[in-house]
Amino acid sequence: MYAFEIERPSTIADAVSVLQNEDAQALSGGQTLIPTLKARLAMPETLISLTGIPEMQGICMNEAGQLCIGGATTHASVATGAIQYPALAQMAGHIGDPAVRNRGTIGGSLANNDPAACYPAAVLGSGATIVTNTREIAADDYFQGMFETVLEDGEIITEVRFPLPKRANYQKFQQPASRFALVGVFVAKHADGVRVAVTGASEEGVFRWTNAELALDADFSTTALSELMVTADGLLEDIHGSPEYRANLIKVMAQQAVDAA
């Protein structure tokens, strides 16, 4: 690997300060970034580790009844600790493999916004709020396409706040080698309506399947989706599946999620 410098701040303020340096890159669990550095697909001069910042760790409930997860909290911690939101815990417990879940973090996953990652679907489907060192961002405003978010240079995800839906479930049809979602669908029935978020399928990254949301608002059942289909236009095509195959999987995974919610 090429040579670089490191900083390991212990507070968010210090991390923000060192991230102002040109060509500095935040490092969280590193489960995507380290392979990326090995391949020299990214070559920052300085890595700012976010794993030694206590105020970015942990899970709690806030006064508004939201589940708050620190930005550097691992998938394994969410899988065992998010007891108030079982669908989220179950989703986190199926990311990657156990060793990856012990390092990978919620903030890292969301900042990277891999088009096949699980967390974007959970965050968008939950209507969560992404909290950074400078602002609060609604999930609907946050995701901007494959690997693109509204985060500015040097901006850190410090916390993610999830409203607790009445019912929710995530179903992933996983690519068995990478364990990323070939298609993953997060369905959440909130007091003010149903949200359906799809990952792994679109060239634009995670998206809401609004027609399914309307149908499930009227009738929260698998049959409500039986006449619906996402258009294959703009869906991903690779060796694992055609756009049409993914379109069908979206429907199947959505129905399974409704059934299990």
Binding site: M1, Y2, A3, F4, E5, I6, R8, L27, G30, Q31, I34, P35, K38, L47, S49, T51, G52, A76, G96, D97, P98, A99, V100, N102, R103, A177, S178, R179
Partner: protein, 161 residues
């Protein structure tokens, strides 16, 4: 050059490392603990699994400096000082849970992390836990059998699918 201070298999270690040094390279190159293997070097195969503060991690996908202050356990620390194999190691031998042996250190470290949290895992739970540990020899059946046996469970039902 950062200095990493940690405890490896019960022994205090203080080592100067480059920022880019991976935990697995510190273990293998600086500490000569070559039991931890590098298979894919892309966090897919699990041959490099070690424990950091009790949690299984892929040592090829963690920088050494991140282990500052940590307790690290590797395959070399699993047997007793007199060479007596751990429960899991003995079960791998008894049930032929290895052939070439390259993946075995990672398998043993993953298995011991599993049994720490879940002392009597089902066959399905074992298979799910080993998703990130790839073996190209055994077909996994004897590995699963060994872990069932190491956790004191009946292995007659482990199907040869």
């Amino acid at each position: 050059m950062p200095t990493v201070t940690m405890v490896v298999n019960g022994q205090p270690v203080s080592q100067d490392v480059e920022a880019r040094t991976l935990l697995v390279d510190l273990l293998r190159n600086d500490l000569s603990l070559t039991g931890t293997h590098v298979g894919c070097d892309t966090s897919q195969c699990g041959a490099c699994v070690v424990h950091v503060n009790g949690d299984a991690v892929k040592a090829c996908t963690m920088f050494a400096f991140e282990a500052e202050g940590a307790e690290v356990a590797t395959i070399e620390g699993q047997a007793a000082a007199d060479g007596t194999l751990s429960n899991i190691q003995q079960a791998f031998q008894d049930h032929h849970g290895l052939q070439c042996g390259f993946c075995t250190p990672g398998m043993i470290m993953s298995a011991s992390a599993l049994l720490k949290d879940n002392p009597k895992p089902s066959e399905d739970e074992i298979r799910a836990y080993l998703e990130g540990n790839i073996c190209r020899c055994t077909g996994y059946h004897n590995i699963v059998k060994a872990i069932m046996a190491a956790s004191g469970q009946d292995i007659t039902a482990v199907a040869a699918e």
